[in-house]
Amino acid sequence: MPEQLAFTIEVFLNGLMAGVLYALVALGFVLIYKASGIFNFAQGVMALFAAMTLYGIMNGQVPFAHLINAIFGTEIHYFGWNVPALAAILLTIGVMILLAWMVQRFIFRYLVGQEPIILFMATIGLAYFLEGVGDLMWGSDIKTLDVGLPQGINETIDETTFGWFGYGFFIDNLDIVASIVAIILVAALVMFAQYTKQGRAMRAVADDHQAALSVGVSLNFIWILVWSLAGFVALVAGIMWGAKSGVQFSLSLIALKALPVLMLGGFTSIPGAIVGGLIIGVGEKLFEFLIGAPYLGGATENWFAYMLALLFLVFRPQGLFGEKIIERV
């Protein structure tokens, strides 16, 4: 049954594309976790905040307009200009770096050496705070983010596959672009970590704080750096998701999908985050298509990832690539 095979391949490809996004969010987690041991619950909200900021800047929104109007009785909402996408992206990167600096300066500087659970709680606080600030700055309405990425069905793939299978695949151009961007991003990050001074310092901090200090690395600087990188990755994820499903609160929930990805890939492994993301993306789509929809009444995508993560927790708690967990007695 060639038709069934063609469907399966199409589902597989779409799963890969969805997985790319999960991988991106998971990557943000891994960056911060490796360097500081902080499990950043706010990663998803950072993606939302970044996307909102980008939208706001592009459309010339006045930040905190609501607040300003309420206090001064004014009626301002827009500056009346539009900022080109690329310039707006650069400005948003600036905002995310500023955010990284503030997070380090006002929160984690005071929590150095604290228990992981306390650091984690701080990021929960950060998540809610950032969500509130985001709404206050840019308004909580649903926004359609369009930075000019191509969207809609890819005709070439549609026609080619029609020639092969007598059935044309539906692959969204946006997903293709997202995948390419993600690949470039990951390659750039790896190059950065391997070959630059700051990248080397980053790896040093991820490995051993004391040793890193002794070779002249400022932990504070590296922590700001990794939060900035995580902010940048969040922005990319935010742009992709925002273009697909609009900028709204649900965007911050992709962080929850990143959790099973991390359990698969391991919390400290960059390749793990990527492979884990792809496996979950493909796995949940294929499972739904082959088993979920025909036999289980559908909607298995909601829980498949978590079930897979549970299995991993039981049988391979360090994940696919994570360092082996050795209890020191």
Binding site: K197, R203, L213, V215, G216, E323
Partner: protein
């Protein structure tokens, strides 16, 4: 007596220069525990300075004060003639003070070569931007740093393991890699916390030879902590002796060996 500015000549005829590092009236407390009690001493250019004393005497604490890991409650550190303001460890490292740790602190996930390369971080100047794009200057700098690292790897005779992940090395080699990383910084002051602890006789002899060679060939000033009295007598030019946080002796190895307080401390004579 020592001359503050002009230095002295060692028994084996090496010229020792002026004061590089001076600790003046250092007191360090942890809660109620006084780990260091009002200690003063100096380290001179080109010499091998040992700090010895029984367990818990405060030797590592002293090294940690010098390298900025601990901040003393009282006293003043002078480096290259100027009083040093309170500094973070990474800032001290950037000033040219490299160190090893009593309990080895290596980057376990990296290869030997990568570990040694991190020792070059303080010498890497090129900024984030040009490095990210691998422009000519950054590439040249990388090559130069790589050369220094390879030279030190050769010097310490660890070429055979240069690509090996550090986590797979035996203890004695790890100690040597840690020394290599510290040396890669081309430090003006090298601090070694028990470089020979836990080694067998042969490894100790190797390490002693390396320390002497480093001092001889690069002229590196070295302060080291060591328990093995034989080793200390062979290696060091001057010795500080600590006991219960106090300095109980300071001088050449032969002077110190004849000091009654030192003999008592090592024989465990009761304190009053």
């Amino acid at each position: 007596m020592l001359d503050q500015t002009e230095g002295y000549t060692t028994e084996d005829g090496r010229k020792i220069g002026g004061v590089v590092m001076e600790m003046r009236n250092i007191t360090l407390r942890f809660g109620g525990v006084e780990a260091i009690k009002d200690i003063s001493f100096d380290i001179r250019e080109g010499e091998i300075r040992a700090i010895i004393g029984p367990n818990g005497a405060g030797k590592s604490s002293m090294l940690n004060v010098i390298s900025g890991f601990y901040v003393p409650q009282e006293g003043q550190v002078f480096y290259k003639g100027a009083p040093r303001p309170p500094m973070k460890p990474y800032q001290v490292a950037q000033q040219g003070i490299a160190r090893t740790f009593q309990n080895i602190a290596l980057f376990e996930g990296m290869s030997v070569l990568d570990n040694v390369m991190t020792g070059r971080l303080t010498h890497m100047k090129t900024g984030l931007f040009s490095q990210s794009f691998w422009l000519g200057k950054a590439e040249k700098e990388e090559t130069e740093n790589r050369e220094v690292a390879e030279k030190i790897i050769d010097f310490l005779e660890i070429q055979a393991i240069r690509k090996t992940p550090v986590s797979r090395l035996p203890y004695g080699l790890k100690k040597r890699v840690e020394l290599a990383r510290a040396l890669a910084a081309e430090p003006s002051l090298l601090l070694l916390d028990e470089p020979m602890a836990g080694m067998n006789v042969e490894e100790k002899e190797d390490m002693s030879r390396f320390i002497l060679d480093v001092n001889d060939e690069f002229g590196t000033t070295i302060a080291l902590i060591e328990h093995d009295m034989g080793v200390v007598m062979d290696l060091s030019d001057r010795v500080v002796v600590m006991d219960y946080g106090k300095k109980i002796g300071d001088g050449t190895p032969s002077e110190v060996r004849g000091n009654q307080a030192v003999i008592d401390a090592y024989l465990g004579v009761a304190h009053d």
